[in-house]
């Protein structure tokens, strides 16, 4: 497969079937090269350096912001805040917009959420006194959108939901959901976890109509340690910073200080400069290669059919993206993953940071297959062979 040549890791691991892109995508050579370019050519701090090298670093840093803004359809580059990842971005919103949440108010989430888009809201509700409500899923792992009428009221201050489930791969119709909830309560703020979406399908935040959209670099073939929080400019201006210190102020007095403009007020301290700079290449890579969600979805359907032929296997997937989870009766998910690992198949086992969803699924843990641009039929077929082997070992 040609594309594999762009990932150095396949050079030494020819037999690798990497099916854990939901946890972290592999990184193309161009991204790694750009990371190193920073360390080799302009390894200095950004913004307040007048000398040439610092200004080069600043330029590259800001170029990433422009490229990301264009990539996700933001109106202007100031709407892009660089974070450490999706989790940090969502926490920043839950903290920074808490003024809008009064005692007795509600946050609406879904049963599909990753803990990163659930726990920050539980904490908000605990701090302020309020309630968490859930949009339930049906048997096909799709949100019961028809319940929105009952769930949303003037008390609902936030709707926090994922675009693509990291366990069962459901693709939520964000645009439709936003239009329904905003009709009931125009003040509601919609915060979307885009971690499993941006690297796989085209995202246009304006078309989706979201207020905030958070994602991670390493889940879109970029570096680890950098993420993005998109927010509508007016909302970012309203939002309070939650980390204070250097770089985020306009003026510091003995007692009080004033904040810098958006987005600087959210980027306190020295940042992960190399990682931010290398985000340019992640964006460029995706633009050049195109999105592969349809191919991934077809591979997942193939896997689902084949796994479905095995009596002991239960499949959990909406079959809408490159993500599927399953359990094998009599063999724990860790043991399945271990046996797959010997065949060079990398999958994840556990609850995938979605314990609420696993309760709904009725299992403690599962094995997850999540695809990327480098996957092909033989990768998913190896899963099926591995599961059969696991059953052989355990059913002796």
């Amino acid at each position: 497969m040609r594309i594999k040549r762009e990932f150095e890791v396949f050079g030494k691991n020819k037999n690798l079937s990497y099916l854990d892109s939901g946890a972290s995508c592999l990184k193309p050579k161009s991204v790694v090269k750009k990371l190193l370019e920073y360390y080799r050519e302009y390894p200095v701090n950004i913004h307040r350096g007048v000398y040439e090298m610092s200004s080069k670093a600043s330029e590259e840093y800001e170029k990433s912001r422009e490229m990301v803004a264009e990539f996700i359809g933001a109106k202007e580059k100031e709407e892009i805040v660089f974070t450490a990842g999706t989790t940090e971005g969502i926490n920043m919103v839950a903290r920074g917009m808490e003024k809008r949440f009064k005692k007795g108010d509600e946050v609406l989430v879904t049963e599909l959420e990753h803990h990163s888009n659930l726990v920050p809201w539980q904490e908000l509700v605990r701090r302020k006194g309020g309630k968490i409500k859930y949009i339930k899923i049906d048997k096909k792992f799709k949100l019961n959108i028809s319940d929105l009428d009952k769930l949303v009221s003037k008390k609902t201050k936030f709707l926090a939901l994922t675009q693509v489930s990291n366990v069962v791969g459901s693709v939520n119709d964000i645009e439709k959901i936003v239009s329904i909830v905003k009709k009931i309560n125009p003040e509601i703020l919609v915060v979307v976890d885009g971690a499993q979406a941006v690297g796989h399908m085209g995202v246009d935040v304006q078309k989706l109509g979201v207020d905030f959209y958070a994602f991670s670099g390493h889940k879109m073939y970029g570096p680890v340690g950098v993420g993005v929080l998109y927010g509508k400019k007016k909302l970012l201006e309203e939002m309070e910073p939650s980390t204070f210190g250097g770089g985020m102020i306009s003026e510091v007095g003995r007692e009080v200080s004033a904040w810098a403009r958006v987005p600087e007020k959210f980027e306190a301290g020295s940042r992960a400069i190399a990682e931010v700079v290398a985000m340019q290449e992640a964006v460029a890579f995706l633009k050049k290669k195109g999105f592969c969600w349809e191919i991934e979805r077809e591979l997942i359907k193939r896997l689902s059919v084949r796994l479905g032929e095995i009596e002991e296997v239960r499949v959990f997937s909406a079959l809408e993206s490159g993500i599927l989870s399953f359990t094998v009766l009599g063999v724990h998910s860790h043991d399945v993953a271990e046996i797959l690992s010997r065949r060079g198949v990398a999958v994840r086992s556990g609850h995938h940071c979605a314990q609420v969803l696993h309760k709904v699924m009725g299992v403690e843990s599962s094995v997850r297959v999540s695809l990327g641009i480098y996957n092909e039929e033989k990768d998913v077929d190896k899963v099926v062979e591995g599961v059969k082997e696991a059953l052989k070992i355990f059913k002796k």
Binding site: H332, S333, H334, D335, S349, G350, H351, E364, S365, F394
Partner: protein
């Protein structure tokens, strides 16, 4: 013969010898952070010596066989001695060498005992 899923491990996984609860015993529990599996151990201690020990909970073959074998071993030992045990002794007992990820599964029982 499978190196990791040896007879002793699969046998203990399917037919554990120390499953259950000791009523009135001292108890401790812990979850495996990787998968959320929970493990509870109860022990009966007389004059500082562990007379009986049982476990409850779910998990993979490695964690379940690991704790089952461990409880065999600690009967008759002093609790203070048990707390000094190292993870590598569990691997020795199981007769396997584990990867870092699976060590967490295998050592779970010992971690619980150290909380007693």
């Amino acid at each position: 013969m499978d190196d990791l899923y040896r007879e002793i491990i699969l046998d203990r996984y399917e037919n554990p010898q120390n499953r259950g609860v000791i009523k009135g015993g001292r108890e401790a529990k812990e979850a495996n952070l990787m998968c959320g599996d929970k493990l509870k151990i109860t022990v009966k201690i007389e004059k500082g010596v562990i007379k009986d020990a049982k476990f409850e909970g779910g998990g993979c073959a490695i964690s379940m066989a690991g704790v089952d074998l461990l409880l065999d071993k600690i009967k008759g030992m002093k609790l203070a001695e048990v707390k000094k045990m190292s993870g590598s002794e569990i691997e020795k007992m199981m007769g396997v060498e584990l990867t870092a990820a699976r060590k967490r599964c295998a050592y779970l029982g010992l971690e619980v005992l150290k909380k007693l």
